[in-house]
Symmetry: C2
Subunit: 507 residues, 2 copies
């Protein structure tokens, strides 16, 4: 779903830990004298090549929802991996889009996983101010120079910056301080339906078992330089509810004239009435039988983190940003944030049935579809919830309304004390980046494949730098920020190098 990023103003600063001066003096573990300087030079020398690598990748989009460039995108990903030093790079076939796997064994003590997605979200060029596949470098007022293109921040820019770090190690003649396992998928944007098949490949699984943790390279800074670390994400089920005359056995099997409503049943009305049973009348709380059975309430620590976040973030700014005047039930800010983190949802992403163009058209549609996403909190699971939804519909006589799950996964959780989280905090602290620790992202990513059974890996998103507009027109990734608190491309690349050293020092 690539909605693994807290909305911007949730990332407001509450600085944890060391003051700036002390932070800058903290030792760089496992870092030989001169290593960082050599890497800095190599990163600077590779700057133009790094930008071009990102732009070339943007020009070669893979879109799972449209079946666009699936095999080509996987081959491209594999080549990017090889070029940056991964060995044994292999395409991992699935029942859907293939994965890509590779390792770098530098003889280090510690293994670390890196998760990549090589697909991007759909786009409509008409909505963009520059061609979405060009990756043009554009001056963004108030932000600086940025690459604008589909996938710029989600996720090719940050992933490209991570690859640039690996290139810099090679160019500087430095050994990687950790061994790496790369696992990439091409269906993140449709809910990663076949990602478990990739991870359960015996070779992939064996490699991941050796890892201390895994991370997704991301642009983790807000436009003011602040950042956040989330300790988990909601799970999600993305699905279509389809009501059709054909499947129902009532209503027409093709669109007929609307005047026939007086004698013919309507699949569109059936969809509306079935939908109406899924939530409370205000549309805000799931009303699916048994939906809350496994919901685990927030812990005291989680509530405390949210309270701190509420205290230090601007409700007014957030409301303005979203164009929202009231939270659900007119909740105050802290309670709204608790609801955001703790409550499962049933959301309508889209309604589509019959005539959808300008004006009207006098038809009785034979089919109507609701696109839903259902967010899950611990300890709900996607499989259990899907079964509950189907049982709920069947019990009410709507067994004919098809439930077509297109993707989804369980919630993700990583303990606050995990080494990868501590390493992340150390980097942010060293760079004097104020950050918030957030118990749970209301969005979703397929981290459960790592954090769940059998691997039980700690999983994180790590990266300096800033970008935004995932899924939207004019998605961007800043390479030369106008705000000095935001890392530019080279600082971001170096940040990944530092992170690897930090991970190498993990106890």
């Amino acid at each position: 779903m690539t909605d693994n990023v807290q909305p911007a103003s949730d990332r407001r600063a509450f600085l944890v830990g060391a003051a700036a001066g002390a932070a800058m003096l903290a030792p760089q573990p496992a870092l030989a004298a001169g290593d960082m300087e050599a890497l800095r030079k190599a990163v600077a020398a590779g700057h133009d090549a790094s930008i071009k690598r990102i732009q070339d990748w943007i020009a070669n989009p893979t879109i799972a929802a449209e079946g666009r460039n699936i095999a080509g995108g996987a081959d491209y990903m594999a080549q990017l991996a090889r070029d940056s030093g991964f060995q044994n790079v292999r395409i991992v076939p699935t029942d859907g889009s293939p994965g890509v796997f590779g390792t770098i064994d530098s003889g280090a003590r510690t293994w670390v996983g890196v998760y990549f997605m090589y697909d991007v979200k759909q786009f409509d060029p008409a909505e963009w101010s520059s061609p979405p596949l060009e990756g043009r470098v554009v001056d963004r007022p108030g932000l600086g120079k940025a690459i604008v293109g589909r996938g710029a921040v989600n996720q090719k820019g940050p992933e490209g910056a991570f690859l640039a770090a690996l290139h810099a190690f090679k160019a500087a003649g430095r050994k990687l301080p950790v061994n790496l396992v790369l696992v990439a998928e091409g269906e993140e944007e449709i809910g990663s339906p076949h990602f478990p098949q990739i991870v359960r490949d015996p070779e992939v699984m064996a490699a991941l078992r050796k890892c201390r943790g895994i991370f997704l390279p991301s642009a983790g800074q807000d436009r003011d330089g602040t950042s956040d670390i989330t300790l988990g994400s909601k799970g999600v089920i993305e699905l279509e509810l389809v009501s059709s005359g054909e499947h129902w056995g009532k209503g027409p099997s093709k669109d007929v004239h609307s005047s026939l409503k007086a004698m013919v049943d309507s699949p569109a009305w059936r969809l509306v009435q079935a939908l109406g049973t899924l939530v409370t009348p205000d549309g805000n709380t799931p009303a699916i039988d048994g939906w809350f059975e496994k919901v685990r309430p927030l812990s005291d620590r989680e509530r405390a983190l949210i309270a701190e976040n509420a205290r230090l973030t601007s409700e007014a700014e957030r409301k303005k940003e979203l164009g929202v005047a009231h939270w659900i039930d007119d909740l105050p800010w802290q309670q709204a944030l608790e609801r955001l983190a703790s409550q499962p949802t049933v959301n309508i992403e889209g309604l589509v049935g019959g005539y959808t163009g300008p004006g009207g058209k006098t038809i009785l549609p034979h089919r109507a579809v609701a696109k839903l996403d259902l967010r899950l909190v611990p300890n709900m699971t996607a499989a259990d919830c899907l079964a509950k939804l189907k049982a709920h519909l069947a019990k009410r006589g709507y067994g004919d309304v098809e439930v077509n799950m297109t993707g989804g996964y369980d919630p993700t959780e990583t303990p606050e004390g995990a080494a990868i989280i501590k390493a992340h905090q150390a980097i942010l602290t060293r760079h004097n980046i104020s950050y918030s620790l957030y118990p749970r992202n209301a969005g979703s990513w397929p981290g459960y494949v790592f954090t769940g059974r059998p691997l039980g890996l700690a999983a994180d998103h790590f990266g300096l730098g800033h970008g935004s507009g995932a899924h939207a027109p004019n998605e961007y990734f800043v390479i030369e920020p106008s705000d000095p608190r935001v890392a530019g491309l080279d600082a971001m690349v170096l940040g990944f190098a530092e992170f690897l050293y930090e991970l190498a020092a993990m106890k």
Copy 2:
């Protein structure tokens, strides 16, 4: 709405009146010796020009829903009227698309109205087997040669055939047996929102007051040659229900990330819940407060006509044609037809909100729309029903859900004994065309402007010939039928001439 035509298999034959032999011997009133023969020659001589006139008109579409070619379409209509002999042709401005008015005063005793629409329905060329604006003459297996194009049958073909009749009178040097009043509109396909303004123009109203009746030229034969006469039509309200964060004051004012459903209200869910109150849980009966207050039950005569229609038509064929296995509540055929004629409806034409493309997109839409059409039966009125709908929503707290009526009108009724109906029957009988008399079309046309106050005109659709596919791809109008029971173009043109003679003889 141009849904003024009973679906094909409702027009099955129950022959009323005279046997073929007797019919052929019936006198042609007001018809001077040689008139018909002269007209026949003129029609044959004008055959190619008649086809070209229809094709040229098809090439010049007016589409009110898209604001396409409004002024140009009215000018074109005016020129067509002038060319066929109308005098004092005038564009009648309205708050929407203009009307066209003209008269032919041939010094006859009787005035008759002709209603034209010059607009057509939207179309998508990708769905057509020949270009929709070309009006190509195509061999249609089982039907014969037909003009294929948007507007071919709805309504430019039949209207063009009527104009061809007027040209034939001119070419043959024959005076029209009646005086004519033409009133044309360009918004029929969006529910004729400004048609009353045209008819209430003082000059138009004065001319229509002189008329004995009014008719819309149409291709009234089914593919097997049978026909029908309907004595009225349901009324209709076509509207959009719009739920938006902006208007509501809750929910977002733009699409936001779907994960925010946990703290942000959803206009899409609001629409679903508001819709759910409009009908019974099975989606089949309006549940709007007071909706049935003015509904007049079927009369005994209406029930008898429907029973006769049920007896003589094939339920199985109709089900097959529509792709329907069961009527509402598993009603038997006759009761289903009674429901069709007698019951008001609330139909969903279309649902559109949020992401409607392939796959999903994780957004919480700020706006969702249901396109509805509500069919009205006597003695409901559009104005009263619109007010009731708004009151119903407001009473349930949905006053913010916008009700945007895009068009509509009251039901239409013409007495079985009206002279224009008798003339219609006489023509069908003379040509040995078996026909059904149907109490009420479940579709709608803006005939109430004529049949209601203050005019109280009898209104009919008249025309021989066959065509189909109104609003659909590959709409066609047969000009050389393979079935001899169907009138070809020239016979259709002559049919209009005969009808005018028949009308001239009305007592």
